[in-house]
Symmetry: C2
Subunit: 75 residues, 2 copies
């Protein structure tokens, strides 16, 4: 399928990646440069992989990574 010329992900696999392997997760909202939201995951081995923003596990993983509202982080 055709994606914008400046999209960073050519493929967006839905394969699950365990958050323990994450070094960083980037969300690039859709815009003029690319007509779809992109999710890039940098792994602990410094490889960057794209993830399918439609994949259900991505939402769950983000919810897991972000602390719950009631868990106060050092204040």
């Amino acid at each position: 399928f055709a994606v914008g010329v400046s999209c960073r992900c050519l493929r967006t696999p839905s394969t699950f990646i365990h958050p323990r392997q994450f070094k960083r997760l980037e969300i690039i909202p859709l815009g003029a440069h690319c007509r779809q939201t992109e999710i890039l995951i940098t792994l602990k081995n410094d490889r960057t992989v794209c993830a399918n923003p439609n994949a259900k596990w991505i939402k769950n993983v983000i919810e897991r990574v972000i602390p719950k509202d009631n868990q106060k982080v050092q204040e």
Copy 2:
């Protein structure tokens, strides 16, 4: 308050930033380098700001940016 030496955010303001201003949102899970999850937002003017991962608006914004499971993006 004290944060790890390698944390990227010294302050994590809870101020709302409209997703229209986002160029990129980075989630850095807590780890050996920093004992709290960090959220860095790169704005369209290329400034990078930190956001409080405990702020409610952050979750809502991420949910807004990520397409809903049933909205299929170009296939």
